[in-house]
């Protein structure tokens, strides 16, 4: 069975888990949110969401609090860089590996 009957003759992909598979395993650092500083958390109102807007992998939810889908987050750190209140810190993944071991 090949691709002969595939519905297109061009390269066409839609958003979702891509060719890279479970890209969360690439992460060296993990984003961690401090809710006491995060604007929507503090105000308890839909606001800011700069992290959601900038995330190139669409793994941050537009919710209170914003959550990270760690299955696909590659740990690029753009969210931490862009957060206007510095509510997101990138933490060495090795630290969590040790915790998970314990």
């Amino acid at each position: 069975m090949g691709t002969r009957n595939y519905r297109r003759k061009t390269s066409h992909s839609e958003h979702g888990p891509g060719d890279g598979g479970r890209t969360g395993s690439w992460r060296v650092e993990r984003p961690v949110l401090d809710q006491s500083v995060c604007t929507p958390c503090k105000r308890n109102k839909e606001s800011c969401f700069i992290c959601w807007l900038f995330c190139p992998e669409i793994v941050i939810s537009r919710t209170i609090p914003p959550t990270f889908n760690l299955e696909y987050c590659k740990g690029c750190g753009i969210c931490a860089e862009e957060c206007p209140t510095k509510a997101i810190t990138m933490v060495d993944e090795a630290k969590f590996a040790e915790e998970e071991k314990e």
Binding site: G2, T3, R4, T10, S11
Partner: protein, 399 residues
Amino acid sequence: MHIIENGNVAAALGVRLCRAGVIAAYPITPQTPLTERLSEYVESGDMKAEYIPVESEHSALAVCIAASSAGARTFTATSANGLLYMHEQVQWASGARLPIVMCVVNRAVGAPWNVWNDQQDSISQRDTGWIQIYCCDHQQIIDTVIKAFWLAEKVSIPIMVCYDGYILSHTYMPFDVPDQEKVDAFLPPFKPEYALDPDQPANLNTVTLPDVRVDVHGELAHGYMEIRYLLQEDLRTTLKAAAEAEQRFAQHFGRGGDPFIEPYRCADADFVAVGMGSITYQLRVCVDALRKEGIRVGVMGVRYYRPFPDEAIAGALKGKQGVIVFEKALSYGYEGALASDLKSALYEHLAPTGSLPTVQNLIAGIGGREIRTEDLTQTLRAAIHERISKEPHWIGLKL
């Protein structure tokens, strides 16, 4: 001295040994590490050259054209869509007869986007008036870069040194890096017939009329057509100069062979596989396997694609029963360009003998599709057994 490095470094070392004076390039995978390495040489002072970072490949070659016109030994490198973006300047460089050397790190062209190896990029530039040479390993890459500067400056025609992206550019293997003194002895400084000179102002390559004209000295000067004819004439005689380059190189460095083709176990073969680049070395492994089965087969690598060494190719294939041409590119709408060219050479040189080998065309490794040696052997065996298809056959297609 032998070192273990990747193909891009082999090319960069060759350019450094040739003391290129101006390098202008725009990064594109898989060429990027080559030009990065050159920029490091220039930055650290290991290489005395102007490295000009530019905003596009079109500009990269435009800078090389200007620098070469001013008498500098110039180098650039690119891949895939970068080469296509250069296309207008590619034609210009050969028409202006500038001995620029450019590495083409062969990569598939978009759409769809793809960074892996095939040879559609350089094959699509076949008719631009450049010399094209294909490499099979790192020793050939560094040696060919050195020969290319000598040859380009000898015949005033630019040269593309082509090698397979990733398969050669990113793979590490040992190769010998010649001594600087030896390269200096082989390759004298570049002395152009005319270099841009404020004391001798001139217009270069401005509107040139369809017919000949009388110039300011009262001499009859070329029309456009004469200039283009001379490019063709000189490309054809480049075959002689290429043989001289190879001979000189062998004298200076003690290695080399036939400049145009690399035959392997062809002498007594009934069937010959033909290709360009790294696949021809892989085919040697297939040929060895099939020889063990008693099949008389050889492989011939074509090193020069333009000018096309038609006589050498036809000579090597004389009396053969069948030729199987493996290509990583296609003249879309017909067949592989090498297959067409090869048939034309066979017709010209062998038709009078009354014995023409059959020619089959196999397409492989498009967009980096892995070519497993086992599959390649099996396809070659099948093609020898009987004609697989009248149309070019694509190996490993999953339709």
